[in-house]
Symmetry: C2
Subunit: 288 residues, 2 copies
């Protein structure tokens, strides 16, 4: 251990964790340590650059709080989150694809009845989101817990905008007996991820913009199925091909402007016309 060199340091560190009880943790750490060391050696990181990295991580912690996790934002902006989502989707190729959780999720939003309203006093284009929760094996899934969250007409989410009520444009909803869900809301809009912290520093340094195309966040939980965290994107958005967080998938992108049928006009007559329809089914992977 007194004779560690560039050639044996990585093995020494991996040997040092030989006592890890949790085999999965041991396997993951072995890979992560090896790749981290490989990166440092290949890039020939200097001490000054390492100090810069330590300061960058400190700044990331400093700007984070219960309402804001800047580490998640950095994971999103460097494609790590989307890679994790793709790995998850690869295990369930017939289920709905996953997409980024993002930094704006808040648990325990109020429950809303199927068909309920999120618009309240929000400005914006009215839409009805609707569809079904079902299994990859085809059957409807009643009693699935859907969580929806999205931004307001000013582009901001309620948890980072003091001008909005808590839980504005957020809800939880149980799917109906036929697995269906629906709610009236406003059409989400494109927005820039927060650029006043290390995430913004990264984007400026790499010559990137911070825009994300308009999307509705959804998290679906049902007994006996893999949890699904995903987003539904509006293909009509100008940023649909250049999401700052690499979250768009063809299977998750639809035009947020289908005209309602006469039946739907009648069914949703409690929503002030005009409104458009956003159709999306969530397909879940059975556990095990």
């Amino acid at each position: 251990m007194k004779d560690l060199t560039l050639d044996n340091m990585t093995d020494a560190v991996i040997n040092s964790i030989a006592g890890t009880q949790d085999q999965r943790l041991k396997d993951v750490l072995t890979i992560v340590i090896r790749k981290m060391h490989e990166a440092a050696i290949e890039a020939k990181i200097t001490h000054a650059e390492w100090e810069g990295l330590m300061n960058f991580l400190m700044a990331t912690g400093d700007i984070s709080d219960a309402q804001r996790n800047e580490f998640i934002l950095l994971s999103d902006l460097t494609g790590l989150t989307s890679l994790i989502d793709l790995l998850g989707s690869a295990n369930a190729p017939e289920a709905s694809e996953r997409s980024v959780l993002g930094p704006f999720y808040v648990p325990n939003a109020p429950m809303l009845e199927p068909g309920g309203d999120l618009i309240k006093d929000n400005d914006g284009d009215r839409v009805i989101a609707l569809g079904q929760v079902r299994s990859t094996t085809g059957e409807a899934i009643p009693g699935a817990l859907l969580e929806f969250w999205q931004n307001a007409a000013n582009g901001l989410y309620s948890n980072v905008d003091p001008s909005q009520d808590d839980n504005n444009l957020r809800c939880r909803m149980m799917s109906a007996d036929d697995g269906s869900y629906s709610l009236s809301t406003i059409r989400p809009i494109a927005y820039e991820v927060p650029d006043d912290g290390p995430g913004g520093d990264y984007m400026r340094a790499t010559g990137r913009h911070c825009w994300r195309p308009a999307h509705l966040h959804v998290r679906v939980h049902a007994e006996g199925y893999e949890d699904l965290v995903t987003e539904v994107f509006n293909t009509l958005d100008k940023y649909i091909e250049e999401d700052a967080t690499f979250g768009v998938r063809s299977t998750l992108a639809i035009p947020f402007n289908r005209k309602p049928s006469p039946d739907e006009q009648a069914r949703f007559s409690h929503v002030a016309a005009p409104f458009r329809m956003v159709d999306f089914d969530f397909v879940l992977q059975p556990l095990g």
Copy 2:
């Protein structure tokens, strides 16, 4: 960009930073992004594991403050810091080897005259540290700024121990005309790195102890030379072969117990006997 897959995501992210103005930053990010993605794919990181990582990083930020950088501690415990030091030393093979800065460095400690005293009212075994600052080309370097810091008899550094005076067992010193330096201090002792945060969680999960062998921290700055950050270790310490931060090098380890010569007894007669000698020369790499 709507058709990103496990096969093309990494290239998409690397393409996204094509506008990076700073070529060095671009090169480093390209390597780091690629290795980070490779690690995620090879380890097949799940969404739940990723959320665990994000929470771990948040906890690391939460416990850090101006006096404590837990990111540096994690870098130390996973051998990243020592790897950076080895990379630096590889560029200057005739200079003194580098070793970990650690989380206890505080800039702008009080200046001490050559031969000055750090012991004051500290308990511990008295030692005189002494030696020379010189160039890899052999000549003495006068006017080099040496910074020393070490732990007290309770194992703690002054910046994390409210019971110690600010700057206890810390100083800065200019090397004399012949490049020499000397100071009286106490023999540093082995200690455990802080284990009450994510660094401690990592060590417990991996079955490791948190001990570091006794050492004196030194930072040397001289005009026209590469900065040197290093440590001098006591080979008599029981943890000399199992430093929690992988910082020990054979070239940096000496017994902290040489008996003073009669000349030295006289020269340091202002220090209460008995005391032992710790000899170490710092060899700096000329810039460029």
